[in-house]
């Protein structure tokens, strides 16, 4: 069966520091991968999606970037964090249909 992992689970970082969040999927090949951000009390905002290695599409201009160095690995990064980057970051995958399956999320607090 397929599983999706995210780490770290929680992260507290100072403003201006770099960021790297990792997402990996097991049990499937060539998945579509997605990064969402969920601000407190808000819905989900799509940040990036990827249909293959090295193929990244950005949905909104922002301080973040994404990379897909391997088929089942998706990384969210920033060179310098802003206060507004705080939130709950969710990775998701899909394969063949539009059904998306979500990871457990990473809670990021920027101080």
């Amino acid at each position: 069966s397929q599983t999706i992992h995210q780490w770290p689970a929680t992260l507290v970082q100072p403003v201006g520091s770099p960021l790297s969040l990792e997402c990996t999927v097991e049990g499937t090949s060539n998945p579509n991968l997605y990064w969402y951000r969920q601000a407190a009390g808000r819905g989900l905002q799509l940040l990036f999606y990827s249909v293959g290695i090295g193929q990244i599409s950005s949905e909104v201009p922002q301080n973040l970037s994404a990379s897909r160095p391997q088929d089942r690995q998706f990384i969210l990064s920033s060179k310098k964090l802003l206060l507004s980057d705080s939130g709950f970051y969710l990775c998701a995958w899909s394969s063949g249909t539009d059904t998306q399956y979500f990871g457990p999320g990473t809670r990021l607090t920027v101080l």
């Binding site: 995210q6 989900l44 249909v51 969710l90 249909t97 539009d98 998306q100 979500f102 990871g103």
Partner: protein, 115 residues
Amino acid sequence: AQSVTQPDIHITVSEGASLELRCNYSYGATPYLFWYVQSPGQGLQLLLKYFSGDTLVQGIKGFEAEFKRSQSSFNLRKPSVHWSDAAEYFCAVGGEDTGRRALTFGSGTRLQVQP
């Protein structure tokens, strides 16, 4: 552009009472519709989905939803709510013409269950 509206931000029901969460969507073609549930600090879990066929779909945890094309709605229902159903519920829409793009989510409905 596709959109999803969940008009109820917060709903409180008594344990054992019935539940209906509303979802209205805007989509130019045949939609794929989803309901997800999120417990505090957790990821989203798929409750049910509609692609085609029978407009009444059954999901996990005793939930069901009915697709009504004429009303552009996909409301979630449960006949008897349990305290463990307290969570946030998200409706989402996608479709054949979205390619590989992601779903569009509503802003969510937070469900509180009173004993």
